[in-house]
């Protein structure tokens, strides 16, 4: 099966062996975009989170063939023009430990802040609770999301 995907602003032709191939493997193994990770492969950990037309989605649960015409953004394309506020905040707050979950966390946070630019702590906790960080960076993630909201305002 041949399809055209729009990833990080560029068009890519891909040929799939299996029409059901999940987006995560197309990104990682056919387009070489290994920034999005995988862990549970059942939509429950958030490691594979990307943006589909600006909304957060689990790339392990979406078939690539359903996404023609959708703007797909991965961590590699998040800060298209310099670092995105969440990336800046993550560096400032020194969030990452191993970093494996963080691309998913950042994509989740960026999509969330687009919808809720001035969230309170409870809304942040709710929005980010579907993304597991086993290293235990949760408390710093919460701070960084709040900080990113400020940075976005300063940058605007």
């Amino acid at each position: 099966m041949r399809l055209t995907l729009q990833v990080n602003g560029a068009k890519h032709e891909v040929v799939l062996d299996d029409p059901d191939t999940p987006l995560i493997f197309v990104l990682r193994e056919m387009l070489g975009l290994t920034g999005a990770k995988f862990a549970c492969l059942e939509g429950a950990c958030g490691a594979c989170t990307v943006h589909l037309d600006g909304a957060a989605a689990r790339a392990c649960m979406r078939r690539a063939r359903d996404l023609e015409g959708v703007a797909i953004t991965t961590i590699e394309g998040l800060g298209a023009s310099g670092l995105h506020p969440v990336q800046k905040a993550w560096i400032e707050e020194r969030v990452a430990q191993c970093g494996y979950c963080q691309a998913g966390q950042l994509m989740q946070a960026a999509a969330f802040l687009r919808r809720s630019p001035t969230p309170d702590a409870e809304a942040i906790a709710r929005a980010m609770s579907g993304n597991l960080c086993r290293c235990g960076t949760g408390p710093r993630i919460a701070k960084a999301v709040a900080r990113a909201a400020e940075i976005a305002k300063e940058d605007a």
Partner: protein, 709 residues
């Protein structure tokens, strides 16, 4: 041709390896002596096994530990740079090759293993000497050139300073000279005084953060060998299950599937990409050996019965005074099996070398040494024919010490004759992977009429990870104590009569090392008993502890945590946990409000702090684990298998479950070395939370996770 030019023609790896040979023994217990004393035949730009200075003045630091996200490469470099007087921005880190005689951790019997909260602690003295030696070489070379006296010089910001003349010579200028003068090895006398430290104890920015937030950091699963295949194993969900009959017709028909390989206990689907391998695995039709009737309920009964056993089989950990005691309080505690839940799937790549005589292993690992053993054994070759490389790991927490994916990769690569990367899906690891074994404990304690502790018996029954996999690493006078099962049992309280002991009960799930090991539950049992005793004696739990503690550091952190939390404030309910573990002294106070965990305050004396922010991050991460272990985690078994078909069946603490966490570090004492930090956030946090809920709910808990809702 001078030695220097000859050597600089070698590749960097050869360069370092040859330097390594000359300092054999540096880490093998010899520690201090090995780098000093004997005339050092090196000349040119390699100073020793840990430091090289390149022509532009860049100081290259060799990191003997793996990058697990804990910050080891950063901490190792900071220790070297501090002693050298190097500017961190002009250092470069490279990974040490597998050469345990040079790069083994002295605290790990000279092995290259990154675990047990021992990395910074174990390498600190070695790296300081290596750094001091490099500093002395730079000073000696500058002195040769400028005719200064070494005693007048010091290093700072990547230069040798000569205060009498006010002149300086940068490391780059020194490195541009034909040869370095090596004045011989450093000794303890040559080390910088800790009150002169400017880098150690600070929190320099870590360039890895940028790589992570931009998705550029490459983990094991992000690195496929050229022309490599992916293998996914089908394993019985039942413990000990093995394939009896395999129908692989449908699997082989899937596009991208190249081979199906039968192993002793699994069937591997080998494919050109991960998705094909996953689909191939789903398409296999396998008949497995019949399941056992193992269940956690049955195991718990066995563990609890073991506590009643008399006579042989007990391993004493500490003993004093006159047994037996008349107990005032007897309490039992049960901790379930737990799994690591590493985010990056376990993975390893194997590829034949030297016409199939040797093998190259690349893996997200905690130990090149142990990877080599798996590789050599499976490939049936000599250790030196096994090349090992580590990638960064997406979480480790002890799981990647016994990195069994290496054996699978080697076995499959050998059979298919091509490079193969094994990726273990999370569900398979949850069902059949290593676990922290379950444990039953009983504590019996006796009080004097005045409420003072006069007798203490702590019995533990569990399987042991070292006893199972590495029996030569057992400890104690008769080599029978498994510290993965007894860590944390040596409480800090004064008591005239006590006996602490462990009894091994073999378990069906495979035991593994998990962050905190047994301290994740022994400290809970001790501290819960202590608070119950205090209440029984009608005393404040903190004040009762104070009366029984002897170590000043433990007392200090306890009072500090209590002060941070507002201990004793009217109308608030607190629980406390204290311990000394991995050399560090730690106290956690937990507040429970209503039926909810409302706050955590942690004070820790971790000795010398190298990278302050990373120490705080380790403790905070540990505290999150503590919340998770106290309130959520349990791996249960029935009918011979883990009752888990999905990641969501293993609940962990999520962001919404976490209370605010405050952490403070005690100032290090003058010449303190660093103590362990990787695991210390866990045990007292579990204990404090349990005690907080006991106080709030007016009941006791005898098992984890606490049934609070």
């Amino acid at each position: 041709m001078s030695g220097a030019t000859k050597r600089s023609r070698l590749s960097r790896r050869a360069f370092l390896a040859s330097a390594g040979v000359l300092t054999v023994g540096a880490a093998l217990g010899g520690g201090y002596a090995a780098l000093s004393g004997a005339p050092n035949p090196l000349s040119g730009r390699v100073v020793n096994a840990f430091v090289a200075i390149w022509a532009d003045g860049t100081v290259q630091c060799v990191c003997p530990a793996q990058d697990l996200g804990q910050g080891a490469p950063m901490a190792m470099t900071m220790i070297l740079a501090e002693e050298i007087g190097a500017d961190l921005a002009r250092t470069e880190i490279i990974a040490a090759p597998r050469d345990a005689s040079t790069y083994g951790n002295p605290d790990f019997a000279g092995r290259m293993v990154t675990a047990d909260s021992k990395t910074t602690r174990g390498y600190y003295p070695v790296l300081r000497l290596a750094g001091a030696e490099a500093r002395m070489a730079l000073i000696a070379t500058a002195c040769r050139q400028r005719e200064w006296a070494a005693a007048d010089c010091r290093t700072e910001q990547h230069a040798v300073l000569h205060p009498p003349s006010g002149e300086r010579m940068s490391f780059a200028e020194i490195a541009a000279l034909e040869e370095l003068t090596l004045p011989g090895g450093a000794t303890e006398r040559d080390l910088k005084r800790s009150d002169m430290f400017t880098l150690v104890g600070s929190s320099p920015a870590d360039p890895r953060h940028l790589d992570i937030v931009t998705g550029r950091k490459k983990f094991g699963v992000d690195q496929r060998p050229q022309g490599g295949l992916i293998a996914i194993l089908a394993r019985s969900p039942h413990l000990g299950g093995a394939p009896v009959a395999v129908n692989d017709r449908a699997a082989k028909a899937i596009a991208g599937v190249e081979a199906v390989v039968k192993l002793d206990d699994a069937v591997a689907v080998v494919a050109r990409n991960t998705w094909s391998a996953l689909r191939g695995r789903e398409a296999l039709v396998i008949e497995w050996t019949p399941p056992s009737d193992f269940s956690d309920k049955h195991e718990r009964k066995m563990l609890e019965e073991a506590l009643d056993k008399k006579g042989a089989g007990w391993v004493d950990c500490r003993k004093s005074g006159e047994p037996p005691i008349e107990a005032d309080l007897v309490a039992e505690f049960y901790a379930p099996c737990l799994t690591h839940l590493i985010m990056e799937p376990l993975n390893a790549t194997a590829q034949g070398r030297s016409w199939g005589l040797g093998v190259e292993i690349r893996s997200a690992t905690q130990s090149l040494d142990l990877d080599m053993r798996y590789g050599a054994k499976t490939w049936k070759t000599a250790p030196f024919m096994v090349e090992t490389t580590a990638t960064p790991t997406g979480g480790a927490y002890g799981r990647r010490v016994l990195n069994d994916a290496v054996a699978e990769a080697a076995e499959i690569a050998k059979q298919v004759g091509k490079p193969v990367q094994v990726i273990r899906p999370m569900r398979d690891e949850l069902q059949r992977g290593q676990v922290r074994p379950a444990a039953a404990q009983r504590i019996a304690a006796a009080l004097s009429k005045e409420g003072a502790l006069v007798g203490w018996r702590h019995d533990i029954a569990s399987d042991g990870t070292l006893a199972t996999h590495l029996p030569s690493s057992l400890k104690g006078p008769d080599k029978s104590e498994d510290n993965t099962a007894t860590d944390g049992v040596r409480h800090p309280y004064r008591v005239p009569s006590e006996r602490l002991r462990w009894r091994r009960v073999r378990s069906a799930p495979t035991p593994g090392f998990l962050r905190g090991v047994s301290a994740g539950y022994t400290v809970w049992a001790i501290e819960a008993t202590v608070e119950r005793l205090a209440r029984k004696a009608g005393r404040d739990p903190k004040e009762w502890r104070q009366a029984h503690l002897q170590d000043e550091r433990v007392i200090e952190v306890m009072n500090k945590a209590a002060e941070m939390a507002g201990w004793g404030a009217a109308g608030r309910v607190f629980g406390l946990g204290v311990m000394q573990f991995r050399g560090s002294s730690v106290a956690t106070v937990a507040e429970v409000a209503g039926a909810k965990l409302a706050g955590l305050w942690i004070a820790a004396d971790v000795g010398r702090v190298v990278h302050r922010d990373k120490v705080l991050a380790q403790i905070e991460g540990g505290a999150v684990w503590g919340v998770s272990m106290a309130l959520r985690e349990r791996l249960s078994y029935a009918d011979g298998r883990a009752e888990i078909d999905s990641f969501v069946h293993y609940p962990t603490a999520r962001l919404a479950d976490l209370p605010p966490i405050r952490i403070e570090l005690a100032a290090p004492k003058a010449e303190d070395p660093p103590f362990g930090v990787g695991e210390i956030g866990i045990p007292t946090t579990v204990a404090a939370i349990a005690n907080g809920f006991e106080a709030a709910m007016g009941r006791t808990f005898s098992e984890l996770p606490l049934a609070v809702s």
